[in-house]
Amino acid sequence: MTHPRDEFLSEEDLDLRHVSREDLFAYWDQWLEQAQATNERDRRSYSHGVFVLMQEPERNEDRRRVAERPSE
């Protein structure tokens, strides 16, 4: 009988454990390229460090430039 296990991450994530270093790096690069699609949305946010609760302050002209850009 198999007992259920607490699951934390997706199958896709856990599959990473079984790939070679070379494949990991290729997948990592591909993931980073795809993740560029959200650059506009997260342009003011922080992933690490002590500023993750805040948004990067912007100059007025930057705000205007973004407002005039077509949406993603």
């Binding site: 296990r5 454990r17 990991l24 560029q36 922080y46 992933s47 690490h48 912007e58 007025n60």
Partner: protein, 266 residues
């Protein structure tokens, strides 16, 4: 070569100066890909900071809002942030010398161990500490990281799974008693699955709030710096990174405290 591997190697050319941390370290441990920005722990010395700034300058990086990459602020737990483009990528590089929840002894061990590694990356146990953030998703990462730990003591200290903890407790009852004061959640093991799951949930919420409170100290201390930043950023435009650094340091000296009230003093 992957940009974060490439940068780590450039930062460490000739000498170990940086260790790849946080989200990209999780990738390196082959667990999950979840962050597009890079985060490094730096050695706390002038040569390291000069070298890292020189590597960033070669890539035409610019300062993002943050603390100057200067020992006086880094010793106070502040972080420094840069950004540049590399082909199709927007690359963000984040730096600390005093990562949260890693006491001096743990940092000393990290540097000693990294010296022997082919590629310097934060180890699984330290990553578990670093991932005790204010983000729910990081607790899922700790849950899987804990399964990679190689001894039952550490597994009992970091596991996020009630089932895993119950199995460990059956095998190591004395260890559970010994570690209960360090991790009060373990006192709930004997009370059954429901109690243990509730205790794990409460522990997660407590850790989230503790990190939020810590970060709020920095947000409060940076209010005036944040107000001044758009002008400072405009002034930095067109300057080399090193000239921008000097100007930012000069301005920060009168605006940004070296350590927020309630945090470690330099």
């Amino acid at each position: 070569m992957n940009i974060y591997v490439e940068l780590t190697e450039a930062f460490n050319q000739g000498r170990l100066r940086t260790v790849l941390s946080s989200g990209q370290a999780v990738v390196f441990h082959q667990l999950a890909i979840m962050s597009k920005d890079g985060d490094w722990i730096l050695r706390e010395d002038e040569e390291t900071l000069r070298h890292v700034r020189a590597v960033l300058a070669q890539r035409q990086a610019r300062y993002r809002f943050g603390a100057p990459l200067d020992l006086r602020w880094l010793r106070g737990g502040w972080s420094s942030h840069f950004e540049f483009r590399s082909g199709a990528l927007r690359v963000r590089t984040d730096f600390v010398t005093r990562p949260p929840r890693l006491p001096p002894a743990a940092l000393a061990t990290l540097w000693a161990r990294s010296q022997e590694q082919a590629f310097p990356v934060v180890g699984v146990r330290d990553l578990c500490e670093l991932k005790k953030t204010n983000r729910e998703k990081d607790y899922a990462v700790i849950g899987e990281l804990a399964r990679l730990l190689d001894n039952p003591r550490d597994q009992l200290l970091f596991s996020r799974s009630a089932r895993d903890l119950a199995l460990l407790a059956e095998q190591y009852p004395e260890l559970v008693r010994e570690l209960s004061s360090a991790r009060p959640v373990l006192e709930s093991v004997a009370q059954g699955a429901d109690a243990l799951e509730s205790a794990l949930d409460a522990e997660r919420r407590r850790l989230i709030h503790a990190n939020e409170n810590r970060l709020q100290n920095y947000v409060d201390a940076a209010l005036a710096w944040r107000e001044a930043w758009p002008g400072i950023e405009a002034e930095a435009e067109g300057l080399s990174l090193e000239d921008a650094h000097r100007m930012i340091v000069r301005r920060a000296e009168s605006i940004l405290p070296f350590a927020p009230a309630g945090e470690a003093k330099p």
